[in-house]
Amino acid sequence: MSFLTLSHIHKAFGTAVAVQSFDLGIEKGEFVAFLGPSGCGKTTVLRMIAGFEQPTTGTITIDNADITRVPANKRKIGMVFQQYALFPNMTVIENISFGLKIAGASRQEMHSRATEMLQIIGMLEFAGRYPSQLSGGQQQRVALARALAIRPQVLLLDEPLSALDAKIRTSLRQEIRSIQRQLGITTVFVTHDQEEALSIADRIVVMNKGNIEQVGSPRDIYNQPGTQFVASFIGTLNVINAAVSDETAGHIALDGQTVRTADALGGLGQRVAIALRPESIALNPEPNGGNSVTATVDEIYFLGSVVRIRTRLREQYLNVDTFNSPGFVPPARGEAVQLGFAESAVKVLHDHDTTRGSAPS
């Protein structure tokens, strides 16, 4: 049995269902990210683990002990909040010692543990400061230290980085991960930022409308999206409509140009939607026996390390990502280009959604 388990969790607020049939096991020391758009129920699940919300039905266990009805302050669960939640009336060291004081630790123990925590977050010289004298990033590090000081069984992070600016967000995320590894603490991290989830987690739980869409490693989630929601939510995706021309040979037509797919086409009918990652398409490749279509360059977006080229087939658009190297000369608008991609890159989507075109992002 997993260290932290959520079994058949169902949560409704009045008539609104926030989470349904949620089942998940998290191993000791694992770092799991809950990823999904706002309102998908990820924070509600986190708050149920913390004890701030009660599941309508279902059970939560930690280390085989049922904690479903245990009050929040008896759970020994550390939590870091999105908003800076430090106690404004206490200094950094008082904030970190707060939980220890309540647990009845001796003065000496409190001091040594708080100092150890300050060392871990590299803020020893800030011990006497008040929260209002710290930057947002520093406050979140103190909040992390405060949550970890009580040696919690589980650490919960509720979008801890979303109030910070981009540079600090990246560095703090690496810091959180390294501290988590160092202490080996079981961690659940809630975020709506896919890059954050992909870069930090051992496993990602993608949620949508109160349901789990997919659970898997960042690689699996990105490369083998299980549903169209996951495919479109993670990374950038071209979703285009195609016509099946030869079901058994796997031939389909994209605006009149025939390509092959490795996916099965049986029983899907004449019209299908296919997904193609922009980075799996090569611009003017050497002929290699893979799929090749002709398209016209419509627009070029310079994104820094990547250049995104929007091309037009006949009616539909295909985004192509290519690395920006010093020698790279992007094609001109209106130029005809060859686009090459493997058979395996053409994913046939089973829950066909024609409303989603391949609009440029």
């Binding site: 929040a72 302050n73 939640a85 106690f87 009336n89 309540i102 405060r146």
Partner: protein
């Protein structure tokens, strides 16, 4: 561009209001300073040595402090709970805060006396004192509650509560170690107003025949008009001092809030 046109009218209205408000004060000051022997500050010196002055002032100061403690213990947890768990009740609470402002103190006092008639609260001296404090708590409640409510709105109540809970804190710990310390400025604001109210309160203390400051002042005015006027001026200055202290503390808090926002 309309400024030069409206300015004279605005100044005129301001001047009228100013004179209207200031004239009685000037008259009082004049009356308290002039005696048949000429202009003298004798009344201001004499008032402090009048028998009963210290007792009356002390009585009201003590009652004010007791009222503040009781009101704080009643209002802060209530306002906290309403804001945290029952935000819908805020409208109801707002209505409750209007009641003491609408009901005249004389009605309140007679209501209290009638309701507790025949109980130790009206039969004994101590009982009447308890009734007095009860009355003070009721009339200062609207001002205190609004100060606390505003203070609670300014901090992130839910997150601070949950942070404390996740660190193992129970309700008492949360209230006394997290909420009260962070509400200090709001509590101080409410306390000053309460203090000023209690010090100037006349109706309840007079009807319950309690030896408070205001009835003492009235009594004094029958005997020593000059001294009573001097005392009015002094207590007026005292109230002003309290208001100045509130605004200084308040602006310091606003400064702190700005600092938090700009971060």
């Amino acid at each position: 561009m309309s400024r030069p046109k409206t300015a004279p009218l605005a100044w005129l209205l301001f001047g009228i209001a100013f004179v209207y408000l200031l004239l009685p004060l000037v008259a009082m000051l004049w009356a308290s300073l002039t005696t048949p022997r000429g202009v003298t500050a004798d009344a201001y010196v004499a008032v402090f040595s009048t028998p009963g002055f210290a007792e009356a002032l002390l009585f009201s100061v003590r009652s004010g402090l007791i009222t503040i403690v009781i009101t704080t213990l009643l209002v802060v947890p209530t306002a906290y709970w309403v804001n945290l768990r029952m935000p819908r009740l805020r409208a109801v609470m707002e209505f409750f805060t209007l009641v003491p402002l609408v009901i005249p103190p004389i009605l309140l006092t007679f209501g209290l006396i009638r309701f507790f008639n025949g109980t130790p609260l009206t039969n004994t001296g101590d009982g009447l004192y308890v009734l007095l404090i009860g009355g003070y708590v009721v009339i200062s409640f609207p001002f205190f509650y609004r100060a606390i409510d505003a203070g609670l709105q300014a901090i992130n109540l839910r997150v601070l509560t949950e942070a404390a809970q996740s660190l193992g804190a129970g309700w008492t710990t949360i209230l006394f170690r997290v909420i009260f310390p962070n509400m200090l400025v709001a509590i101080l604001n409410g306390s000053f107003i309460t203090f000023a109210i209690v010090l100037g309160e006349f109706t309840i203390s007079s009807l319950l025949s309690q030896p408070a400051f205001s009835p003492y002042m009235l009594d004094l005015s029958y005997r020593e008009a000059d001294q009573a006027t001097a005392l009015s001026i002094i207590s007026f200055g005292f109230t002003w001092l309290i208001i100045v202290v509130i605004s200084i503390v308040g602006s310091r808090r606003a400064g702190g809030a700005r600092q938090i926002i700009s971060r």
